[in-house]
Amino acid sequence: MLAPFDVPYMQSALLAGLLISVPCGLLGVWVVLRGLAFFSHAVGVATFPGVVLGLGFPALGPFAGSLLAAGAFGAAVSSIETDHRLRGGAVTGLALAAAMATGAVLLTTVAKVSTPIESVLFGSLLGISGLDIVRCAVVAVLAIAALALTWPRLAASTFDRAWAAPAGARSARTDALLLVLLGLTVVTALPAVGSLLVSGLLVIPPATARLLCDRLGAMTACAVALCAAEIVIGLAVARELNVAPGASIAAVGGIGFAVAAAFSAGRSAWSGRAVNA
């Protein structure tokens, strides 16, 4: 089990992965419960042109580049989506396409990138620096602190927005905080899992956890644990099979989800039989 982690670059990836599983699991719960799965995938994809620019211009760097791209994406989507005729993900979808197209154009014109493109899209085991690990730790601490402060308000406004607003849980502020944290987490997770598969960490573990848990606290703990397990196994698989870590991590998550779905279906069939008997 530990054999794949016998080299320093794998240990860096493991440490970064375990740290990022905390904000991914914590925020992923709200991504799933608030229907932000598509949005979070789109934020990941939207970082692509930023990463390309950052790699092409070392003065900018991929982290700052992706942060700028995620911020621009969030601002664009939230300003255009105020038009009620375009609700329901249309704006997110078109901004996603625009970002991907911009990245593709930049890649062959402005920015000369030596990094293999599949590393940008699906992540790399080799790309995790000490600075990445620090960023993962900082985002983990930020997510824990922010969620600890806003937890009841987030819960109330996610469960029943019509009640929460008059009850004093101002949702505009908590909504904005959630989106900023989501953007930071996506950008920080990019080097390991890539632009296209970052939502594998933000969506699959909490969705799996929801099938297994009926309380918010349990679901959250389960999501973080599943996220960490998914990363550890996915990294090991990536090294053994020599595939991109984003892909192996998402695949492990998908298998975990399938097992949980089968278990959940079996459990409800069993309890249905017990009730009918």
Binding site: L33, F159, D160, W163, P166, A167, R210, L216, M219
Partner: protein, 258 residues
Amino acid sequence: MSAAESAPGPSDTVTVDRLSVSFGGRPALSEVGFALTGGTFAGVLGPNGAGKTTLLRALLGLLPVTGTVDLRGRTAYVPQLATASEAFPIDALGVVVMGRYPRLGWRRRPGRGDRSLAAGLLEQVGLADRARSPFGTLSGGQRQRVLVARALAQEGDVLLLDEPLTGIDGPSQATILEVIGAQRAQGKTVVMTTHDLGQAARECDRLLLLNRTLIADGTAGEVLTPAVLRRAYEAEVVMLDGGAAIIDEGAHHSSHSH
């Protein structure tokens, strides 16, 4: 009683004067005025789109309004059942405990006292045995009773309920009406929107008939007359042997229970 004159009296808990609300230039409510005293159970009636929910939201201070809304004390609110997510991972007791947060200020964690108060309220709505059941697994009537218990946990002076009896089973309706009766007995003001005129006439001691403005305000005998109903419901009223029948699509669609 005249709707236009509503200077606040000493025992009035809710005073609304010349209240108007519009959405994007379209008037939703105009020049609504009434006053309610403690212990009143007011039913807000009117056709679909009459502004019933808008009136509750204006009373809660959620909408930009012109005119004045003077509400003494704290509010407690039961929004329409469909607003609460059935997918959210929370049990019935958790929902009621959530009702303590407005009092606690959203930063303090509910303590043992809050939890036992919440458990007592679940018992009051007849759901003591479902405290640990996931909210999404409860029937419509049970979910509505949980939301009423959550509002009671707010310990408000004015209880506002949006269609609390619509689309739920008879026993749940009876339980909710019992709880409302207990609140009135404590001197609290209760305002409920409803589609069911007959039920409102039986249960409420004050009816407010809306259709973008206050058409009538008074007791059932004063408000539920053919002439007044025709003004509020317009084409939806059919006259039968001097009585009035209302073809209410909204009530029709939402009357199948779970």
